[in-house]
Symmetry: D2
Subunit: 265 residues, 4 copies
């Protein structure tokens, strides 16, 4: 598959623009110096039009590619509560949020070039072909050049390719994996990687071998186009910085999603 | 000015898609058989993604051109309460809503071809060059072919033309005007025209003469590109129907905004 | 148990005050002439402070006892979508809505005398002892005289009594039951009773025998303190009216929940 | 006036519980160690049921008296945008929020003992007898023992006393005053007092003399029952702490509003 041929390149992405009204969340200014692609909240689980304006502006200033990060309509629950929606409602919900961000990007002469579902919408769609296809289908109707940033080895990437949308596969810098290739649940003591050196080694191995290694050592082959990092928590920014520095020190180019060899036109 | 040369043609528009979640408002199915352009609520003062989906679909089925009807973010107050916003917030607010509708239209292979601010955002911008220019500027950044559907003889049309956006000027079928060319306030007993025959004569005169006549008989020259009708209230649909029939009986073609001679490419 | 001794008396209740902002729902004025207790929406799934004011006022004018009808915080979904909440969040959510209604009732010199969870919160708690106990516990902390209006034979009534709150058990006038004592799902063709005469016979038998009869004829003993009627749909008000008239014609007194013999102090 | 006889005592209050869903605001844990009364946000401009639960619990643990801090229904604008409301809507809005907090307080065996309108609702009512009377009237209908915490020398205190509610008058620790007795607008360079020693001297003089001194040195007699401090910004907590320490060092007892001699039963 064409997307696999990204030898020597990788993307780093993070969720950004998660403030709302008077409430600030995250360290966007710091994170934008590390990542090359931003998943921008679209007002349903976080953000509002002004936060989106400010976030898009910062992305443009930092040369970071812009993605839509749509979520369930639940500000209070931050899009982390399961919500029943018909497939048609989900398509409407995706279109609404993606379109809103596209228009705000247009105010800055910018474009939305990828999409990644947030929180529970992300988790549910990772396991649901129907949901993932709805997200991909709605996206393709709006702009067929948008890349679906998918959790590696889940229904998301499969659905995108089936629908005719390009997909990038992401792994996590600061999370471990089980033998089935899923993230170790947060309640497990070994779910997080808080040590910068360990995170760097973890990421380097995944990128070099295009595979996930579980905590028990099992190797799960996997396309690794992008590394997801976080900006919240006491160690997040420093771990993220170390990951980027570690990749570059190894001669790997860290680029926006749109600049990965497999996605360049 | 090019927009004035619509001899023999006029548009009829109405606000549609104002339901929300489980709450139904208006008689969209009936109104869509009368109007040729719809101002579709975008989720801030009314509507939600599914209502927008259903409304766009009905517009497409009825050959009715689609406009964005953005409002202040105040569902409970239906966008009718004044709200302080900076010019930049207003631009973000317009872009967000317009983009959301554009994307939902794209799901149906349709396009948003005009914009008309709702409620208090409409009233405040009619008197404010700054607000009208912000609306026009944001719109133009997103799609320079979108038409600003302006309250006749207000700052809206002026701002649109100044910014470089095309404007259509609208008058009301069921409302009277004062000597200053503004709508007679609703608290006045003669503010509304509920008699179908009178509404027809009122509209025909405005279209034929390209002028508003005040209740005292004063003639105020004015471009008349579109007639705004309403779908709520006991007499609204029948009055609206009579207006369309009256115009067509007089040999005037009632067309979508985009089909007015001055706007056809 | 004391609550069973309501010979010759029954309550009729309905969900009211479900409008929101500019959107009207239901026929509250008509329904208030039939029912003796109202379940008033509290702003999370429907209603707002002004709608609550108007609804409480109408209840007082009609001598109808006032109950809180709390729901999940989801206006767009009308409280009908499942929502994950911890038990503590549910208690907070119940307290917030109940307190809001109590204070608005106080503006009219009235009191909230019962509580009934709405929509999906009602359905989920009917099957969950934990949820029902949380609702009952929060309610009792606020006012130990409030009656829990429970779906007959479910966890709700059990939880209320366990916690030390009085419970009234309700059956439905226009819905049929399965052999397990639950409502026949709406998708079944025989789930609804739209014929007034049949509804009257259905209700009379449940009240006379203090039992539910399933569609197959199975008799399920059950305390019947209250009859739930609906105000929406083409036949709802006339069926509700017939039910009340039928009960009174049979010499049964239709009274507010607080006037049932088992609840009078 | 009875409320003036608080010699040797004063209250310190602050706005608390202003987080919302996943968004944290303020340093409530630190501020609660300094203040003796908390103005708790009620879900319209900030907070939600769980935040209210947690805030009330912290107040109880710290022996801090609890007040309702109702605002306009505008989370995104944090209740700082002007909003048109009829007097009746305002009463409903006050009752709703006050009742919600009362019920949540009841879950912790606590009571709401004062009320203070937030943000733009506070500013508008300070200059409007009608609005202040509506707030006082709604409050009195719900609990006639609640104290109206008023901005000193404004319509709020007057309205409360006229309606028959007790009022406490507050001054600000970190803000200066103009010759008319109002706060120096924030845009003026000398509007804030960020130096702890100056804030202490400023507060001590107001408490000792029961008067405000303007920036030009004008003395404006004024009842001083309570000092408002803030918890946000880099210097706020340390300034607040210094103010409390300074008052106590001068032998003044810093007590909950309800423990001021004029309010004790």
């Amino acid at each position: 598959m064409a997307q696999g041929t990204n030898a020597g390149h990788v993307n780093i992405n993070s969720d950004l623009g998660e403030s709302f009204g008077p409430w600030v969340m995250g360290n966007d200014a710091d994170v934008l110096k590390i990542v090359r692609s931003a998943n921008v909240a679209c007002g349903f689980h976080a953000s509002d039009p002004m936060v989106m304006m400010d976030t898009v502006k910062l992305c443009v200033q930092n040369g970071v590619s812009i993605g839509a990060h749509p979520g369930f309509p639940d500000l209070q629950g931050f899009g982390r509560r399961a919500m029943n929606m018909t497939i048609k409602e989900l398509e409407a919900c995706i279109a609404y949020q993606l379109g809103a961000l596209q228009a705000i990007a247009a105010l800055h002469g910018a474009k939305v070039t990828h999409i990644k579902p947030h929180g529970m919408m992300g988790n549910m769609s990772a396991e649901s072909a129907d949901m993932s296809e709805a997200i991909a289908r709605a996206t393709k109707s709006i702009d067929r050049d948008i890349i679906f940033l998918a959790q590696a080895n889940t229904e998301q990437g499969k659905a995108a390719r089936k629908v005719g949308l390009r997909a990038a596969e992401e792994v996590f810098a600061d999370r471990t994996y089980t033998d089935t290739g899923f993230l170790t649940p947060r309640k497990e003591t070994n779910s997080m990687i808080k040590d910068a050196a360990k995170a760097v080694a973890h990421v380097r191995r995944m990128v070099d071998e295009q595979a996930i290694y579980s905590t028990s050592g099992k190797r799960i082959p996997c396309q690794v186009d992008s590394i997801c990092v976080h900006g919240d928590g006491p160690t997040a920014v420093s771990v993220s910085k170390a990951v980027r520095d570690g990749l570059e020190a190894a001669g790997i180019r860290v680029v926006p999603l749109t600049e990965l060899p497999s996605f360049k036109h």
